[in-house]
Every structure is written in structure tokens, then in C-alpha cells.
């Protein structure tokens, strides 16, 4: 069924559509709504069976403050920032370089190396787990934020290279050619001609990698041992054990963990979506 544009439909149908939209959205986001409602109600409501009804009391501030007071939520959030931001910077910078190398030069290894990055980006994490952990232990990077950042940055370089290279390939190659004929050095071409043109790609990658890394759970569990360095995803998991049956607090903590990527998405929506299509379409 391919729907006709709604403008061609009967007025009744059009009103129906506009009425149905918010209902559909409500059903679709019901899980989120429920967890938000839970995060603002007193704990007593849940034990009394009032799980989906109106809160008997609005405890927004109390509940969220309790999460910060009774747990290391602040530390977890800060750790996530310390892990995510450097990863984004390193991965995006490295891929600007690799993307340029693989798109602006015609050499025999360009396609095989590009495919190596693409293939590596798709492998299951588990095939890397034991050696990466072992490597981190031997180099003293295990249980450090630096170790986690270095791994994340290296792994994300695969995806970023895929994206950057495709983006740069679509740039007008004549620009680079004519600069070369003029005798401009390669590094200057990269810095003054190519980089300004790939700003949208950098923005897209930055928001996307931010979300991926912020939401990572697996590598935090594998490469971090103590409680003090956990990012917020793993932190919320351990809060879940600490706040047994205190669902209003678990909900508040979960929403806090989910908030930064959501804000990021809203602020940079267009770039985010461009990134998700793997750079295949620039719509």
C-alpha cells in the first residue's frame, strides 16, 4: 500500500490522520512514558499497585536528587563524558586522514584497505574480546579510561573511514587535481581544501559516534574492573542491583543515562540521520 499524499484525501480522512498521529506516537513511546511517570512518583505508589496511573505525588526533584545522593550517578555520568568525548575526537580525526588517503589517491591498495576497514567495522565484538583485554592488561591500560578510549577510537575508525571515504569520494575531484597542478602541497590540499568541505560529514560522525560510545555497555564491562571508572550504562546496571525494588529511582537513573544522546540527537538531527545511512545517500 503506497498512500497518496494526504492533501489529496478527503477532509474527513485528513482529520482522522491528524488525530491518529498522536495516538500512534503515544503507543509507540509508551515504554518511555511509563518509565518517566515512574521516575516522578513516590516509591509507595508502585507497591500500592499504582504503576500506570497518575502519581499520588509529584516527586521529580526528590527522586532525581535521591539518585545523585544515594549512588555514584554523578561519577558515572562524568566517566561517560571522559570516555565519549576523546573517543569522538580521535576517531573522527583519524578517519579524516584515512578517508582522504583512500579517496584522493589512486593506488593499488586503496580499495583493499578500504574494504579492510569496512570488514573490521562489522566483526562481532566477541572475536576481539580476549586479545584486546589481554593486550590492555599487559600494557597497563586495563581498568583505565585511557584504555577504553583507545580501543573505542580504534574500532570506530573503521566505521568513520567507511563514511568519510564515501563522502570525500563524492567531492569534485577536479578541485584537488587543479590544486595539485598549481603545486599546492598535499597536506595543504587536505587542510585548506578538503577539510572545510567535509564539515557536514565531521558533524554527522561526531553525533553518531557520541551516541554509539555513550551507549556502549559491553566494552565497559570487559575493560573496566572497579566501580569508580564505570560509564553510566554499566553504572545504571549496578544501580539496578543497589536500588532493589526501588523502581522509581532506577527509572530516574535510566532516564538520566538516556538523556545526553537524546539531546544530542535533537540538536543535530539532520547530521545524525545523514550518518545513519552509512553515507550511502545524502538525503
Amino acid at each position: 500500500m503506497f498512500p497518496r499524499p494526504i492533501q489529496q484525501a478527503s477532509p474527513g480522512f485528513r482529520t482522522g490522520y491528524q488525530l491518529f498521529l498522536p495516538i500512534a506516537l503515544l503507543i509507540w513511546l509508551l515504554p518511555l512514558l511509563a518509565i518517566f511517570m515512574t521516575s516522578v512518583r513516590p516509591g509507595g505508589d508502585i507497591t500500592a499497585g499504582n504503576v500506570f496511573g497518575w502519581p499520588s505525588q509529584w516527586q521529580i526533584l526528590d527522586n532525581y536528587a535521591a539518585v545523585f545522593q544515594q549512588s555514584k550517578a554523578m561519577t558515572y555520568l562524568w566517566n561517560s563524558v571522559k570516555i565519549t568525548i576523546p573517543t569522538v575526537i580521535i576517531a573522527v580525526s583519524l578517519s579524516c586522514l584515512t578517508g582522504y588517503a583512500l579517496s584522493a589517491y589512486r593506488f593499488r591498495w586503496a580499495v583493499p584497505l578500504f574494504f579492510l576497514f569496512v570488514a573490521g567495522n562489522f566483526v562481532p565484538f566477541q572475536i576481539l574480546m580476549v586479545p584486546v583485554r589481554d593486550f590492555s592488561v599487559r600494557t597497563g591500560l586495563y581498568d583505565t579510561i585511557t584504555g577504553l578510549v583507545l580501543f573505542h577510537a580504534a574500532f570506530q575508525t573503521g566505521f568513520c573511514t567507511l563514511f568519510m571515504r564515501n563522502f570525500m569520494k563524492a567531492l569534485p575531484f577536479e578541485l584537488i587535481e587543479s590544486a595539485r597542478i598549481e603545486g599546492v602541497s598535499e597536506i595543504k590540499i587536505f587542510w585548506h581544501i578538503v577539510l572545510p568541505l567535509v564539515r557536514p560529514a565531521i558533524a554527522a560522525l561526531a553525533v553518531l559516534i557520541f551516541t554509539f560510545i555513550w551507549n556502549d555497555y559491553f566494552w565497559a564491562v570487559v575493560l573496566i574492573n572497579g566501580d569508580d571508572l564505570l560509564p553510566v550504562t554499566a553504572g545504571v546496571r549496578s544501580l539496578n542491583g543497589q536500588f532493589v525494588n526501588q523502581w522509581h529511582l532506577v527509572s530516574a537513573a535510566s532516564l538520566l543515562a538516556a538523556l545526553p544522546p537524546v539531546l544530542m540527537f535533537f540538536a543535530m538531527q539532520k547530521h545524525f540521520i545523514a550518518g545513519l545511512t552509512l553515507g550511502a545517500s545524502k538525503g
Binding site: Y17, L21, L32, T98, A101, V130, T233, W247
Partner: protein
């Protein structure tokens, strides 16, 4: 004569500039990627032929880890669950297309609706797992309430060996559908209105219009949607870890989680055996990776 001395070195760089420059740009990224991604793949495959607790000596045992896998019921359960994941996760593609078609209209506020529908994908799977785990709770979750509304005893979805995997997959579908939806929404932007008009003149409408005119034009979106869904299905770790830890009795295990459990948990540090499981998972993924690369190669040729 200093000028004749500097000229050769200058021209050497000039002569080889085009050959050397790409490598200079590649070195940092390639080095990083090799150390943390490429080399570990081969190391893991190698470790799978050893008995190793992660600390002591590695003992070469040939293919014995793989022989053990053949007799391991938990391995078969995980493998079977991975197949279920792969099949059911694919539902995200048509459902995502359905929602995209539903939202592909121009009315006031539709942009906001589109972004809000996309929400679940932005949220961490840990949070999704917690939400759904709570949803499924028979005594105060929404599922329990619905069952009670119909006067039935609510099932404990995550405690039931036959239901648990489906419960986790349903949770995973939520963000995955959102992802496929956004891919299709982008794709629908690029569908040519001329062709739709031409189709209308040829009396193509409804399903025929969708099947013969729209879907062929959405091929790039479908391709990416299938690829990311397969990868998502095979990477299913977070939800299992959060919602059930593979339980009850290993019935919701998947290869990704089973590997982690064998290599790094209270069940012992069997790095060699874990690597063997990881190798199997890698080989399954390799089928899809090869297909993806092959398709990309074809595009490159054009």
C-alpha cells in the same frame, strides 16, 4: 654548489610524492586499527586451539575446543537462539517500512513526529533492557496488568524457558524498527514523484504501486536496513546481559553472551573455549560481511 645538492632530494620527494602521501595519511589510523581490530581477530582464532585461563600457560590442544562445542548443549541452545534472533529481527525491516509510509506525509508538526518515533534508537540498550524487564514483570509490569484485565494469570515472560527469547527479541525490535524507519524515511525523500505519477496513469495503485514502483526505488535503503539488522541480531549482547543473563537455565543464551560467560565470569576463565565460540560467531558474520563487501565492490566498479 649547494643548489645541485638540494635538487635531487627535493625531486625525489616530488617524484614519489603521489606514491608516498596516501601512506603518510594512512599510518595513524591503520596502525590503530590493526592493533585493536585486525590482529585480535587472528589472535582469537589462534587462541581457540589452546586451553588457557587468561593468566597461566597456554596449552595447545588442537581442535579439542571445537570437539567439545559439538557436544555442548548450551552452545546449541545459543546457536538456535541466534537463528531465532536473525529471523525475527528481520521483522524490523517491513515494520520500519510500514511506519515510514505512515509518516511520509506533509502535515503540520510531522518533522517532530518523525524524530519522536526515532527516539528508541537513540537510547542505550541497557535502558531498553531495564524498561522491558520491568514491563514484563508479572506482578506490576504492563504485561501483567493487561493479562489481569482479561482475567488471566500473567505469565512470567522472562522466567519462562519457551517465552524468554521472544520477550528479549521484542525489546530489541523496538529500537531496530526505529532505525529501519528512519532509513526508509530518508529513502522515501528520494523517490521520484514522476515515476509515481506515471504509475498512477498506468493504474498502479495500492499494493501494486508499492511493490512495483516504490520498493524498487528503495533498494539502497532496504540493503542498509537488512545489513544493520543482521549485524544487530548477531551482536545481541546487551539486552541478554541486562534482562536475563542468559537464563533461566541458559535458555535465552546467544553466542555473543555465551562466549562472554565462558571467558569472563564466575563460570570460569576459559579463554580458549570462549575464543572457539567467538570464532564460530565470527564465521557466521563473515558470510554477511562478504556479501556486503561484494555488493560494495560491484558499486565501485560502476
Amino acid at each position: 654548489m649547494s643548489s645541485t645538492e638540494t635538487v635531487p632530494s627535493y625531486s625525489w620527494w616530488k617524484r614519489n610524492r603521489m606514491a608516498l602521501s596516501p601512506w603518510l595519511f594512512l599510518v595513524p589510523g591503520l596502525l590503530f586499527f590493526s592493533v585493536y581490530v585486525i590482529a585480535p581477530i587472528f589472535q582469537s582464532i589462534l587462541y581457540s586451539f589452546y586451553e588457557w585461563d587468561g593468566l597461566g600457560e597456554k596449552i595447545w590442544i588442537g581442535t579439542r575446543n571445537y570437539e567439545e562445542l559439538l557436544d555442548d548443549d548450551r552452545f546449541y541452545t545459543s546457536l538456535k537462539n541466534n537463528v531465532i534472533w536473525l529471523v525475527l529481527y528481520m521483522l524490523a525491516v517491513p515494520i520500519g517500512l510500514g511506519i515510514a509510509l505512515f509518516l511520509n506525509q506533509t502535515v503540520t508538526g510531522i518533522r517532530l513526529y518523525k524524530s519522536l518515533f526515532f527516539f528508541p534508537f537513540v537510547i542505550s540498550q541497557v535502558v531498553v533492557g531495564l524498561i522491558f524487564g520491568w514491563f514484563y514483570n508479572p506482578s506490576f509490569g504492563i504485561v501483567g496488568k493487561v493479562w489481569e484485565f482479561f482475567g488471566a494469570t500473567p505469565p512470567s515472560i522472562l522466567g519462562d524457558e519457551t517465552l524468554v527469547t521472544y520477550g528479549i527479541i521484542a525489546a530489541g525490535l523496538w529500537p531496530q524498527i526505529a532505525y529501519c524507519m528512519i532509513l526508509y524515511l530518508t529513502g522515501l525523500n528520494n523517490v521520484s514523484p514522476d515515476q509515481i505519477e506515471a504509475g498512477r496513469l498506468d493504474n498502479a495503485r495500492g499494493w501494486k504501486m508499492l511493490w512495483y514502483i516504490i520498493i524498487p526505488q528503495l533498494k539502497p535503503a532496504t540493503f542498509i536496513a537488512v545489513v544493520v539488522t543482521v549485524i544487530g541480531a548477531l551482536r545481541s549482547f546487551d539486552l541478554v546481559a541486562i534482562m536475563t543473563q542468559g537464563g533461566p537455565y541458559g535458555s535465552s543464551n546467544v553466542l555473543a553472551y555465551y562466549m562472554f560467560e565462558t571467558a569472563l565470569s564466575e563460570y570460569g576463565y576459559r579463554m580458549g573455549y570462549g575464543s572457539a565460540i567467538a570464532t564460530v560467531l565470527f564465521l557466521i558474520m563473515l558470510v554477511y560481511i562478504s556479501y556486503f563487501l561484494w555488493r560494495m565492490y560491484q558499486d565501485e566498479q560502476q
